[in-house]
């Protein structure tokens, strides 16, 4: 599916540019994006190295296990496939916590580490049930305090920059619940077709 989307975006874009006379812009966009991608990866490297180092300490000190134990009743329901006290749970929870507080920079490394642990559990190159659930939660956003948006609102002179926090939390809760339900729906559909 991603193969198709990827090719489709580029091919449609180039064909469109041919008819629309925007080939020069396309050329510029290609090469500036290459630089941008390297820059993003570079800045991600710093964040990844730092947080994964720190999280390794947290793991060694038993903090991730503690976090996993504390939220086990909830997380067990969302991720029934992950064994109790598996380090994957700790990383999933730290990713979710960081996301909730708007610490996107800290959330990504822990999410990546969680994915790595989930891959260790499944042992294949195919996305496992837990991986898809974890992804669904992440794509629906868990942010409780959207700091970037508040900053933009302040910059453009909002009377009450934080007025949108309540609405954002409500929308986030709905989209996360929807994500979990959609994920379950697809899971049961997969299971049914497998049986037949």
């Amino acid at each position: 599916m991603v193969n198709l989307i990827w090719a489709l975006l580029a091919v449609t874009g180039i064909v469109f540019a041919a008819f629309n006379g925007t080939m020069e812009e396309v050329n510029k966009a290609i090469f500036s994006t290459l630089d941008e991608a390297v820059m993003i990866t570079l800045s991600l490297t710093g964040v990844l190295v730092f947080w994964l180092g720190l999280m390794k300490i947290a793991e060694a000190a038993g903090l991730l296990e503690g976090l996993a134990k504390l939220f086990r009743p909830i997380v067990k329901r969302i991720f029934p496939d992950i064994p109790d006290n598996d380090p994957a749970l700790g990383y999933i929870l730290s990713n979710m916590t960081a996301n909730m507080f708007g610490l996107g920079n800290a959330a990504t490394p822990m999410g990546l580490k969680a994915m790595k642990e989930l891959k260790r559990l499944s042992g294949t190159e195919e996305a496992s049930r837990s991986m898809i659930t974890f992804l669904a939660i992440n794509t629906s956003s868990l942010t409780l305090i959207p700091t970037t948006v508040i900053a933009i609102r302040m910059k453009y002179g909002s009377v009450d920059p934080t007025s949108i926090v309540g609405a954002t939390i409500m929308a986030t809760i709905i989209s996360t619940l929807a994500a979990l339900m959609i994920d379950r729906l697809f899971y049961y559909k997969r299971k049914r077709t497998l049986k037949i």
Partner: protein
């Protein structure tokens, strides 16, 4: 304000507990962080490839044409058409979505209906394509099953939820 204290706070708590438990913190830090370099390097091809495709699509004007095509439909169901670019681009590109949000807030004002809606939408959804690319790319997942469908449908739910909530709360 809280966010200024949050990260230093986390660092202090982790380091104190680790020291009390006699974890060789610096050595463990270095050991754990090495993994970060590997993940970052394996990430680059996935990220770069996806970003180039999206950039071509946007720069060619194809994105704009799709938006123009859908605009009458949005107006017909009573949702301001100005919000459409944000709703469509949010799952695809995070930086593009942020610039659209900024532009909407700048032109319509942060406290206008569209300004509020853009703020809520930006805050309550995430860039599905980026997350899938990064998370699956870094660990080498080749077949992603229903992940993309689930992610995009969740985005749709978030976008519809933002519209309804903002209409109820601010109108």
């Amino acid at each position: 304000m809280i966010s200024i204290w949050l990260i230093p706070g986390i660092i202090v708590i982790i380091l104190i507990i680790a020291t009390v438990k006699r974890v060789p913190s610096y050595e463990v830090f270095v050991e754990g962080s090495k993994e970060g370099i590997q993940i970052a390097i394996s990430l680059l091809p996935f990220l770069l490839g996806m970003m180039v495709s999206i950039a071509i699509f946007q720069a060619s004007g194809a994105m704009g044409a799709i938006l123009a095509f859908f605009q009458p439909l949005m107006t017909a169901i009573g949702v301001p058409a100005d919000i459409l670019p944000l709703a469509l681009i949010r799952p695809i590109s995070g930086t593009a979505a942020l610039s659209v949000t900024t532009e909407l807030i700048r032109t319509h004002g942060p406290d206008s209906f569209i300004g509020q809606l853009a703020s809520v939408m930006q805050g309550s959804t995430d860039t599905t394509l980026y997350i899938i690319t990064v998370y699956f790319g870094a660990v080498g997942i080749k077949r992603m099953g229903d992940a993309l469908k689930v992610g995009l449908l969740a985005d749709l739910a978030g976008i519809i939820a933002s519209v309804i909530i903002v209409i109820i709360l601010f109108h």
